[in-house]
């Protein structure tokens, strides 16, 4: 091997680790590039979405299921943390874990019957779940604050170090997002992840290879609910205010759009999808009022022309080209 080939091979071999390192460095330096709190607030929101979308992408892209109700778990996490810290005075960090655990139980109890369904039926069931939660948040006002929302949620803090401004929150939220990214990357590159990819590809084939399809779906559902709940808790402590409309069905569909646009079954795609869809209203404030139309339009276009999503679709295209060219080279 020549030196150039050696370097390329090294890059190829450690591509995931290198990308993660590069990304972490970029994110670490980002507040040095811009100190505008508005911009940082926006990238912080991306970090929150990334955590939810990563979990949802495992569920949609790997386990091959659909959920139109993940904002419910996001909302449970947010309101759970709000109520636990304000009404019960529990330490925010502890509350976050406690709420995540409870949400895992809720997801388990819901997942066992609901994941017997597939396709449209599963979509309807999860949509229904979101409606129910949204209605509870609106109506049960002595606990949730009703339509006007829940105020006065404390900031997260380590000792006396409070995460209250965008600069500090940047490191907190992106720390969580990168950790989730790392854990998800590990998962999909493991044997369990391959089992999940098999499940997304073909359920009968996956079962014939020894994948317990029912359990796998439930496990991933619970995992994605836990990630959504953690993101929700962070949301509550970031804005110190939560209201029901942050967790309605349109938020759920936006999450699905992020998964689809970034690329189903692509962890990196989750990052891109979350970033693109979160930034979109900023780039086109003219369209802000018509946000849902724009999102819908983008979804239709992507599904028509690149059904695998941007990252997965382009990656597949390049990989297929390379393989075919190598095949021709070998034949020649």
């Amino acid at each position: 091997m020549t030196a150039k080939q050696k370097i390329l091979y090294f890059l190829y071999l450690h591509r995931t680790g290198l990308t993660v390192t590069l990304l972490s460095t970029a994110i670490f330096c980002w507040p040095l590039v811009t100190s505008n709190p508005y911009t940082l607030g926006l990238t912080n929101l991306i970090a929150l979405h990334v955590v939810v979308v990563l979990g949802l992408n495992l569920f949609i892209g790997y386990a091959g299921q659909i959920s139109l109700g993940h904002a419910a778990f996001y909302g449970l996490g947010a309101y759970g943390s709000a109520i636990a810290t304000v009404n019960f005075g529990i330490n925010p960090w502890l509350a976050m874990l406690l709420v995540a655990f409870l949400v895992a139980l809720v997801a388990l109890v819901i997942g066992i019957p609901v994941l017997r369904l597939a396709g449209h039926y599963l979509a309807m069931a999860t949509l229904g779940l979101n409606f129910v939660l949204h209605t509870i948040l609106l109506q049960w006002d002595e606990v949730t604050g009703g339509p006007s929302g829940f105020y006065g949620i404390p900031y997260l803090a380590i000792g006396d170090f409070e995460f209250y401004d965008e600069f500090r929150l940047h490191y907190l939220l992106w720390g969580f997002a990168l950790l989730s990214l790392l854990l998800c990357l590990n998962l999909v590159r493991s044997g369990v992840g391959r089992g999940l990819a098999a499940l997304a590809g073909d359920e009968t084939a996956a079962a014939a290879l020894g994948v317990n399809t029912r359990n796998a779906k439930i496990k991933v559902f619970v995992l994605s609910a836990v990630l959504a709940s953690l993101a929700g808790s962070l949301f509550a402590h970031t804005y110190s205010f939560v209201s029901p409309d942050s967790f309605n069905i349109f938020v759920s569909t936006d999450m699905v759009i992020m998964v689809v646009i970034g690329g189903m079954g692509s962890i990196w795609g989750s990052l891109l999808g979350a970033a693109l869809i979160t930034m979109l209203p900023e780039w086109m404030d003219l369209f802000e009022t018509y946000k849902d139309f724009v999102h819908g339009g983008i979804l239709v276009l992507v599904l028509m022309f690149l059904p695998q999503g941007l990252v997965t679709g382009l990656f597949d295209l390049v990989r297929t080209r390379l393989a075919l060219r190598r095949g021709q080279d070998a034949a020649a």
Partner: protein, 254 residues
């Protein structure tokens, strides 16, 4: 190794299998033949737990398997290939073969997320085994290709590699040469012969009579859901019932 006792399967009152009984002896290649609609695929689906039998027993070694779900049957050591290829087109060839080792990988989601050293170690040894399997089927140079771009014959071989990589005790092959040309059929036949000589127990469901007659140790004939004959290829070939039901019509080997 695998024994079917009076297996019946009805679809809403219509009998697809009635009272089918036969053995799959260890270390032999048993072929299951029969005209279209004879119930061959139904039988394989019953053996792998995809379908529930209406009545009768299926024993694998001493375990009754007819009520087990598919993944548990797979974990007992029964692997299968599918009539209409079920590869995962987006995964690489190597990853496709690695899915055949699912039973031996870790099962815990949480352990996998933290990528513990013992898992990394196991992953490496699984990868080596998958590469070996690919090598046996002459596909090692395409290990990193996405499986979707392979030629049809290569896909069939990947499926065989995936079915055999976990060293299953019994391999069920659902029409492995359907859609292949004569040359490719001969190649697959060669592979099956190698597997047979290596001591694998196999059940081959196939339409290609020439292949069946040359490599099968035993042949079982199904017709309209009934087992009408079994024996060595030679015996089956001479059986008048079989000739009438099947061979007589095609005259392919007569």
């Amino acid at each position: 190794m695998l024994r079917l006792e009076n297996v019946s399967k009805n679809f809403g009152g219509l009998p697809a299998l009635s009272d089918v009984s036969f053995d799959i002896p260890q270390g032999k290649l048993t072929a299951l033949i029969g005209p279209n609609g004879a119930g061959k695929s139904t039988l394989i689906n019953c053996m792998t737990g995809v379908l529930q039998t209406t009545s009768g027993r299926i024993r694998f070694r001493d375990i009754q398997i007819e009520t087990l779900p598919p993944h548990q049957i797979a974990r007992l050591g029964i692997a299968r290939t599918f009539q209409n290829l079920k590869l995962f087109p987006r995964l690489t060839v190597l990853d496709n073969v690695l899915t055949g080792l699912t039973c031996e990988g870790g099962k815990s989601l949480v352990m996998a997320m933290f990528r513990l050293p013992y898992l990394r170690h196991r992953e490496r040894s699984l990868k080596l085994r998958a590469l070996e399997a690919l090598d046996r089927f002459g596909l090692a140079d395409k290990a990193n290709w996405p499986a979707g771009v392979l030629a049809y014959g290569d896909k069939k071989r990947v499926e065989l590699a995936r079915a055999t990589v976990g060293k299953p005790e019994l391999i069920l092959l659902d029409e492995p040469v359907a859609g292949l040309n004569a040359e490719e059929t001969a190649a697959v036949g060669e592979q099956l012969n190698l597997l047979r000589r290596a001591g694998h127990t196999m059940l081959l469901v196939e339409h290609d009579m020439e292949l069946v007659m040359t490599i099968a140790d035993r042949v079982v004939v199904l017709d309209s859901g009934r087992c009408i004959a079994m024996g060595s290829p030679e015996e089956v070939r001479r059986n008048p019932l079989v000739l009438e039901a099947y061979l007589g019509r095609t005259e392919a080997v007569a």
